[in-house]
Subunit: 288 residues, 2 copies
Amino acid sequence: VRVRVLGAAAGGGFPQWNCACRGCMLARRGEATPRTQDSIAISADGDRWVLFNASPDVLRQIDATRELWPRRSRHSPIAAIVLTNGDVDHVAGLLSLRERQPLTIAATSRVFGGLFERNILLRTLQRFDGHLHWERLQLDEPIALAGLEITPIAAPGKTPVHLGGAAEPEDNIGVLVRGDQRSIAYVSAAGAIGELGTRVEGADALLFDGTFWSNDELSAQGVGQGTAASMAHLPISASLPLFEGFDGRRIYTHINNTNPILIERSPERRAVEAAGWQVAYDGMEVLP
Amino acid sequence: VRVRVLGAAAGGGFPQWNCACRGCMLARRGEATPRTQDSIAISADGDRWVLFNASPDVLRQIDATRELWPRRSRHSPIAAIVLTNGDVDHVAGLLSLRERQPLTIAATSRVFGGLFERNILLRTLQRFDGHLHWERLQLDEPIALAGLEITPIAAPGKTPVHLGGAAEPEDNIGVLVRGDQRSIAYVSAAGAIGELGTRVEGADALLFDGTFWSNDELSAQGVGQGTAASMAHLPISASLPLFEGFDGRRIYTHINNTNPILIERSPERRAVEAAGWQVAYDGMEVLP
């Protein structure tokens, strides 16, 4: 199984279009590594790939990833797209995956229904018979996609802004993905740990929510009032010690532009690495 | 006034994610110039910029254009976004222009209403008081935006797929944009000429619909059944002689990946250049 990070930044990317924080300025000057928005690609056979989330940057992610290029016209190695929630930065890329290409989308009822039953713009994805095929995801029920076994697991999250209402468990999920003898856990948004610690045990790698370093990071940098908790992201300062017994590779991803771990040689980056974690970047091969 | 092409390709971009036509393969091999999706930026003062259309590639277009970088946090030189129609490749980028940034969108009632009154995903753009400000565009009525005078003009087009129904004149417009003593005409989609020939007279530059070379280009290359006419795009083979009396710079843009003018030294590219036209590319300065 191959696992490749397509984008390692949280919503907005790094640098973010309207932000001039220290990290964004360093990224624009070439002194920090830019990152596109959160998405990973996994393949059991190197031929067919499953995308996990469709970021607004999906076209440049495909451009940058030779394995995802078409081998003939109206072809794509992308066999399916798994959505872990309905956030704009995880679904807007679907609008770019058009051009008469049938798509298989795997998502919970809650996420799929929110997008496709109530969204007129996304009707452009249902232009011909067979254009869109939905694989329903349910918590703890494995499905098979392109040679991979994918099991949705609970990850406490929040309801996307455009849906509103109270959060339900299927609004935000993590996934365990197994191919051959190896597996990874991908949990790019989690507001709490819950049972995640035991659910990811035994995986060869964990890609975990690295959105914020601290709970009050946005207000401390003067770029927002919300806290990590209000956005249902456990900050790294809280999650760092939680997976110490995990045997596989531990990697933070979905990293917000304000997070100091994006700045190499920062104390926070060193603290993360000293604790045995790595920081994801675009193009990273998670299971080489 | 400064006019910069941000993206010169039609919907899908060049190369297109699921296409392996000759042009797309050349672009992937670095033997043709890749182009992102149609958008231009115009500034009267070099400080505030108006975007014309918000392509799905808007974030990488901003990354590539130093003039559009923020000068402080929660700032953008982008003063407004003019939408010339409601096609996905002209509006999906709005979903990327979030992050607590107030936006001014100029569009006809028909285009704005189609997107914002009926689209739940785009509600993410209306998250706080004053987030979204709408400037209503009406045919032949100039408005002032960021020091520019912008006049919508009729350009026969079609209704976006996600709206359906019969086409109305305000579904698709061209614009005349004047700053200082100079002006340009931007008509990136036109199914016919109508009165455009006389309306653009006197402009210093014309950016015109270069989607297709010929009417049956898609079927001839085996990548679709639609004709240029059915998609309301006048092919270049028909528009090439129509602006011979135009005094300013003539440039084709919104170029589909199948259009042979994207291939340098092709007979079609030479024919276009011999007729006095140029082929737009990302980063092109239209009025240097």
